[in-house]
């Protein structure tokens, strides 16, 4: 069954059309890679799914588990189980990572009508995950992402993802700016979360990440649409031939 269904999605940003009738289905438990050249609309798709204000949907629908989420606020979408790992995670001065995680988790649980997680349970969950990701306790006490290296910020995104345990995670170029060791740690963190009822969209420009997070399906985006869908071998083909073929096809 499809967890995410995007139909004929048209999106404008500051009056400029970025997505032009995009169709995409992500099955439950599926890891879908989205690849494509710069400017093809990959990050726009990520932001639209998360509900960023300045992204205007002019046509189409997005259903999460059968429910239209386009009218929902970003926090409502999060409570429904949607998570965006940002390409450029922002620094939040003055808010300790632990406080941030607890506030977010409890807000989501409240929205879902669940009780708050007890403090020992919460701390156990965070510490365990942080351990896997090589995030030390000191980092958890510090303000969110403040003074973190690029790699630390990306690991912090995966930590949040693991603690919030979303049904659909969208990873927007999580590999950008990572060296090979950091990439392995991040990929390992993502792989731990794979399960039959959790889906992921892995947006990337390069095939490299997909060696570590092996996708079930690969979609190619160009000019605001999905133009080709295939198995994981499609990523290798793209690596060899580049994206030029799709851009030309579009132009033709």
């Amino acid at each position: 069954m499809a967890l995410l269904e995007v139909k004929n999605l048209h999106v404008e940003v500051e009056g400029k059309k970025i997505l032009n009738g995009l169709n995409l289905t992500v099955e439950k438990g599926q890891v879908a890679a989205i690849m494509g050249p710069n400017g093809s609309g990959k990050s726009t798709l990520a932001y639209v799914l998360a509900g960023k204000d300045s992204y205007v949907v002019t046509e189409g629908e997005v259903k999460l588990d059968g429910e239209n989420i386009l009218k929902m606020a970003p926090d409502e979408r999060a409570a429904k189980g949607l998570f965006l790992a940002f390409q450029y995670p922002v620094e939040v001065p003055g808010v300790a990572t632990m406080t941030f995680l607890r506030t977010a988790l409890n807000a989501q649980r409240k929205a879902r009508g669940q009780s708050e997680l007890s403090t020992p349970e919460f701390i156990k969950r965070v510490r365990e995950t942080a351990g896997h990701l090589g995030i030390d306790q000191e980092m958890l006490r510090r303000a969110v992402n403040v003074g973190f290296s690029g790699g630390e910020k990306k690991r912090n995104e995966i930590l949040q993802m693991a603690v919030l345990a979303p049904r659909l995670s969208v990873l927007d170029e999580t590999d950008s700016g990572l060296d090979i060791d950091a990439l392995k740690i991040v990929a390992d963190g993502v792989n731990r979360l794979r399960s039959p009822d959790r889906s992921m969209i892995v947006i990337t420009h390069y095939q490299r990440l997909l060696n570590y997070i092996v996708p079930d399906v690969v979609h190619v985006m160009a000019k605001g649409r999905v133009v080709k869908t295939g198995g994981k071998e499609l990523a290798l083909e793209l690596e060899a031939k580049g994206y030029a073929q799709f851009q030309e096809e579009e132009a033709a």
Binding site: A73, D75, A78, V92, V95, F100, T103, A107, Q108, L164
Partner: protein, 433 residues
């Protein structure tokens, strides 16, 4: 006919009348009062044409001057009994003033070695020669608000901490209003902290609809360690002046906290008198409604090898106005001065206003000095990040504001005070809706 003077405002006329009526009854210091009053007569109330008072025009903000408060009666004292509650949880030595008058029976006068406490009114009446020699001498300025205070001062604390004394508890000067009729009070305190002494001093103002003019003269000796916290609440008008002279190799940390403050002018004159001293001059303002809170600094690096950090943050909601004027002077021979000033205003409403005027006057050539100022609404980008994690918008904004204020409050060394002010800030934020 030599001098062209503006027509006196009703407030100025009332102040003149108050002085004429009270001068026979005010305690001591007749010559100081007369000179100061003459200065007021010459200059009048500060207005927008006076550069230092540009954003806080007292001619406009003080439509009238209230009469001097009568000494508090038993009922007035009873009403002020639980004053200082903002820091109620902090174990302090409280010295309580009601409507500007020292109230020994509400104060903690338990003896402590090295500490002397007196009342300004009592010592002026007794013509204390030491006090006469010290009063008004900490820093000489031609500021009119201070001159008015010198002319009309009634009471205040006179505190002496002997060399090498580390006080066990913070001293809290609580200036409370009995909440009676609209009145004014001019309080003047002198605190002398001798070499190598360690003191935490809190000045708390809980005003009603009254007009308060408070001056604190603070002298800290060499190697002294002084934490100075000022909290100001008022439904009326508060003009506060700190005149501080800091000796060599001392540590001076101040923190001004303004919340529920209708009209406030907080001016701080800090003079570095000895090398090797470090000062942190900080504060937080939370303003809403039509609050007007002005922080004005005159930091005088008169000697070299001192470090100062001036950091102020304000959160401005509704139609409130936050003013920051920060002047740092580095004298020609004050080499190796290290001064950094930073002010940040967070605007929560379209109609709030932040006025920022940093001024550096540097006459030495081997110094590190800088300043920065930011004014902005809570970041949409940050809010989106928080919301994308499931935190609803009002909570996301509250968390960001709390963090903004919390970062500043974190700098306070005393844990109890830090926590009490954080709670006060959260309470203020909680009242937003």
């Amino acid at each position: 006919m030599a001098e062209l003077r503006a027509i006196k405002t009703p407030a100025e006329q009332a102040l003149t009348a108050a002085y004429e009526t009270a001068r026979g009854k005010l305690p001591g210091a007749a010559a100081l009062r007369a000179g100061a009053f003459k200065q007021f007569e010459r200059q009048g109330l500060p207005n927008r044409r006076v550069e230092e008072w540009k954003y806080t025009d007292l001619r406009a903000l003080m439509r009238e001057a209230y009469p001097l408060a009568a000494p508090p009666d038993a009922a007035a004292k009873a009403r002020a009994k639980d004053a200082g509650r903002l820091l109620a949880g902090v174990d302090c030595r409280r010295l309580v003033f009601v409507d500007g008058v020292f109230v020994p029976e509400l104060s903690d006068l338990v003896e402590e070695s090295g500490l002397t406490i007196g009342s300004l009114a009592a010592q002026l009446s007794a013509s204390d020669p030491q006090l006469a020699a010290d009063l008004g001498k900490t820093i000489e300025t031609d500021d009119v608000a201070i001159a008015l205070n010198s002319a009309l001062m009634g009471d205040g604390a006179v505190i002496h901490v002997a060399a090498g004394t580390a006080l066990k508890r913070p001293i809290q000067l609580v200036f409370a209003s009995s909440g009676g009729s609209a009145s004014s009070a001019f309080v003047r305190s002198l605190v002398e902290i001798e070499n190598n002494a360690k003191v935490t001093l809190i000045e708390t103002h809980e005003g009603g609809a009254d007009q308060i003019n408070a001056v604190l003269e603070l002298k800290a000796g060499d190697d002294a360690s002084v934490d100075y916290i000022k909290t100001t609440q008022t439904q009326g008008l508060h003009i506060g002046s700190l005149l501080a002279e800091i000796g060599a190799n001392a540590v001076f940390n101040s923190f001004a906290f303004n919340a529920e403050a209708r009209i406030v002018r907080n001016q701080m004159f800090v003079h570095f008198a000895g090398e090797g001293t470090k000062a942190g001059i900080r504060g937080v303002t939370l303003a809403r409604g039509k609050d007007h809170v002005d922080t004005t600094l005159f930091i005088d690096h008169a000697v070299g090898h001192c470090e100062s950090r001036e950091q102020f943050r304000s959160v401005l909601d509704d139609e409130s106005r936050g003013v920051f004027q920060g002047k740092i002077v580095v004298r020609a021979h004050a080499q190796k001065t290290d001064a950094k000033m930073m002010t940040r205003a967070l605007l929560l409403s379209e109609d709030a206003e932040a006025d920022n005027k940093p001024e550096l006057e540097i006459f030495a050539d081997d110094v590190v000095c800088g300043h920065g100022a930011t004014t902005s609404a809570p970041s949409e980008e940050l809010k989106f990040y928080l919301r994308s994690r499931g935190i609803p918008e009002p909570e996301a904004e509250a968390l960001l504001v709390q963090a903004f204020v919390g970062e500043a409050i974190e700098e306070i060394g005393h844990e109890g005070i830090r926590q009490a002010l954080m709670i006060a800030a959260l309470k203020w934020l909680g009242a937003r809706s």
